[in-house]
């Protein structure tokens, strides 16, 4: 796209783009290379385990995001709806199904090959289960499911963990061995998990730099890039470890020079508002959406979306000493697998720890896992922190549900509200 020529990119962004391109090339050339491929989800992503069997990791959510950012999903969704899929349901699913009906072309212009196995890591989202039942109907390939129980009482139990470990041992691993022809090697898994933990340490360092003033990162729009390698096909690899080293250097430089985050239009100079965001971003109008923030001097200092693929800032690390148990704990701890009171506590903590001005909820029409209950959550966070909340509605990849004028209007009103609240506090003092 011609607009891309003017976009400011740092070295880490270029490295990451190359990593993702390489993964797409590996996926689309699997017939030539003979590598097997598993399709799976971001929350509960068992990348180390997939790689243990020399398999490729394909993530339909990421594919939908890629297609959304390329403005292709509108057509894909319509295609799926024409085929009988309801207008009410998840647009990631419909984008994926619709893409299949329109040639199933990957971002590198080559067709996606059929997966050899669907790894249904059923973590924190009901729709995942139906999504892979629908894909299974299309691909007629083996499907292996890991049911990750929900933390209804705000914590996981040994029964839940043992259940997941058993599913890994007795169902996932034997299926992977059969499909890949590779014998499971737990020491190989341990090695990868040690690399995961290194990268996770660095990711946490990165996202916590938003505590600085000015914040050197944007923890929502920018974090989408920062979490990319860990949330996708690179957790457990040296490439991911190296990526975060480069990223850390860049951010350290910005901290040392009191610089703001790098937006598509360059460094964000003025930071008037520090915001915590709950909910995923909209992908079809991602840059336009981001621009509405940085044009107003709003920087996101923490977000829940950057924890969907793992809540590392709450202390979790993949543990090479107990690899399968650790994978189970990882799945259990993903953000949307935590109950609403816990999610409120997390957001409250973010507001306080990151000295934020308020909580903005981007409520996603087609994601009930995130969205159902967000109004109550927002009110609860407002009550506990005394900081104002705001609510906007968009969608993941359905362009019909992104109304730029409405979103901008609401955001501007929200920033004015923060301003007024500040004035009120000052005059009271």
């Amino acid at each position: 796209m011609s607009a891309d020529k003017n976009v400011i990119k740092e070295e880490s962004m270029i490295i990451q783009k190359e990593m993702i391109s390489r993964n797409y090339d590996a996926i689309t050339s699997k017939m030539e290379t003979g590598r097997k491929m598993a399709s799976t989800f971001v929350p509960g992503n068992l990348n180390e385990l997939v790689r243990c069997f020399d398999m490729l990791n394909n993530l339909p959510e990421i594919n939908a995001i890629q297609a959304g950012m390329r403005k292709l999903t509108g057509g894909y969704i319509m295609e799926a709806e024409k085929g009988g899929h309801s207008e009410d349901v998840c647009t990631y699913v419909k984008a994926d199904i619709g893409q299949l009906g329109k040639g199933n072309i990957a971002p590198n212009g080559k067709p996606y090959p059929d997966p050899d196995v669907l790894l249904l890591s059923y973590t924190g989202c009901y729709t995942f289960m139906k999504w892979f039942e629908l894909l299974r109907e299309q691909y007629k390939c083996p499907t292996v499911m890991i049911h990750v129980p929900y933390q209804g009482d705000g914590h996981w139990t040994m029964n839940m963990r043992d259940y997941i470990v058993k599913q890994l041992k007795e169902e996932v691993i034997p299926t992977f061995e059969k499909i890949s022809g590779v014998k499971f090697d737990i020491d190989r898994l341990r090695e990868m998990m040690a690399l995961s933990a290194k990268a996770e340490d660095d990711l946490v360092w990165v996202i916590e730099t938003a505590k600085h003033k000015p914040s050197p990162i944007d923890a929502y729009f920018g974090a989408v890039y920062y979490v990319g390698p860990i949330f996708s096909a690179f957790r457990g690899t040296q490439e991911a470890v190296d990526y975060y080293k480069v990223l850390k250097k860049e951010i350290q430089y910005r901290i040392d020079n009191k610089m703001g985050p790098i937006t598509p239009e360059g460094e964000m100079k003025e930071q008037k508002y520090r915001i915590v965001v709950e909910g995923p971003p909209n992908w079809t109008n991602f840059r336009e959406f981001w621009k509405m923030f940085y044009d107003e001097g709003a920087v996101v200092v923490a977000s829940s979306y950057s924890k969907v693929g793992g809540t590392y800032d709450m202390g979790f690390r993949h543990d090479p000493k107990n690899p399968l148990e650790s994978l189970a704990e990882y799945c259990l701890g993903c953000y949307t697998n935590r109950n609403l009171p816990t999610r409120v506590e997390i957001l409250e903590k973010y507001i306080n720890d990151y000295e934020a001005d308020g909580l903005l909820t981007n409520s996603i029409k087609s994601c009930n896992s995130f969205s159902a209950g967000q109004l109550m959550m927002m009110r609860e966070v407002e009550k506990r922190t005394g900081k104002p909340g705001a609510f906007i509605e968009t969608d993941l990849v359905d362009p019909r549900y992104f109304s730029a004028a409405n979103v901008k209007n609401r955001l501007e009103s929200y920033f004015q509200m923060i301003e007024q609240k500040r004035r009120g506090v000052k005059s009271a003092a």
Partner: protein, 386 residues
Amino acid sequence: MGTQEIVAKCQAIFEDLNFTHAREWKKAAPNRKVIGFMPVYVPLELIHAANALPLGIMGGGDQMEVIHGDAYYQSYICRIPRSTIELGVTGRLDFVDMMLFPFVCDVIRNLSGIWKMMFPNVVSRFFDTPQNFEEKIGGTYYEHELLELKEAIEQTTGNKITDEALRNSIKLYNENRKLIWGLYDARAKEPWKFPTWELYVIMRAGIMMPVEEHNQILKDYAAAAHQEDRPKRDNSRIVLNGSFCEQPPLNLIKSIEMAGCYVVDDDYVLVNRFLTSDVPVEGDPLKNLSLTYIKHSVETACKYVPKEEDKGQYLVERIKKCGAEGVIFAAPSFCDPALLDRPMLSHRVTENNIPSISFKYAENSGQMQPIREQAGTFADSIKLWN
């Protein structure tokens, strides 16, 4: 008692949004507790064995104005959580000691967290049934979950659930399921004698009263309906699918019947027949409940189907068993489970040359004319072309 009297009694119970029948049951003896539950499935036996009343909370229906509940949900969320919150906020559930939110979808799952925050004095629990159906994996997990639920119920009610009490409850619910399946079979055979709206009212009331009372009602109704002479019409025989959580307004069921359809199977109030075989009475009762769920429970959208070739097969078999000529997929608006499942079920019934139509509703849908027209056209097309 004739069917009219029985149905009128049940309708009064099910339409009473103050839950007077359950309140009176609680008041009638000291230390009685009431445990509310939402769709689709909870092990009612465990609640009964603790001398508590399992109370089905299926939303507010079409008779309640939702004022507060809408403030908790965006426009694209289904209606049942809004009206359930309305029931809670307006004090209609103030006598409920514990609320169970079984796994059905992310909306009901998240409602369990909302309930914890809104009603901190009520014990609220999310109940996650297994999606792995291997005895040693999902079965073991579920047995432990049942044990945890049992302990939570004991703590709430103050009553120890003995194995003996649980076995007795299992017996009563086995009888309940047998009577319900018996009525369902009788309706499939002679649907003109067992109108679905009547059955529905009896099932809804059944989850708001002690199982002993419901068993007697089921027996009385079956006997009365068999004896009554009701005219047989030239209707089409259809199965309704997709209404397992948010329930339709009664008028919608009546409209489908009035449009020329005999409903010979449905998935309303599924909790009362979720298990398709008796739970063994002898042996470890928790293990028995667990294994019956794992091995003998209905296929519905909130359960994973491990094999692709089995997907939708349960529906096809029910259609054949009931001698149905078509399917109406009737799902609540914004119902992820039903609407995501529908294309797969639709493909499966089409492969079996079974015609189908689909529409959406909400528990407070008021306009029945389009439903009647759609169902009527479908019934006519079955008669004309099949």
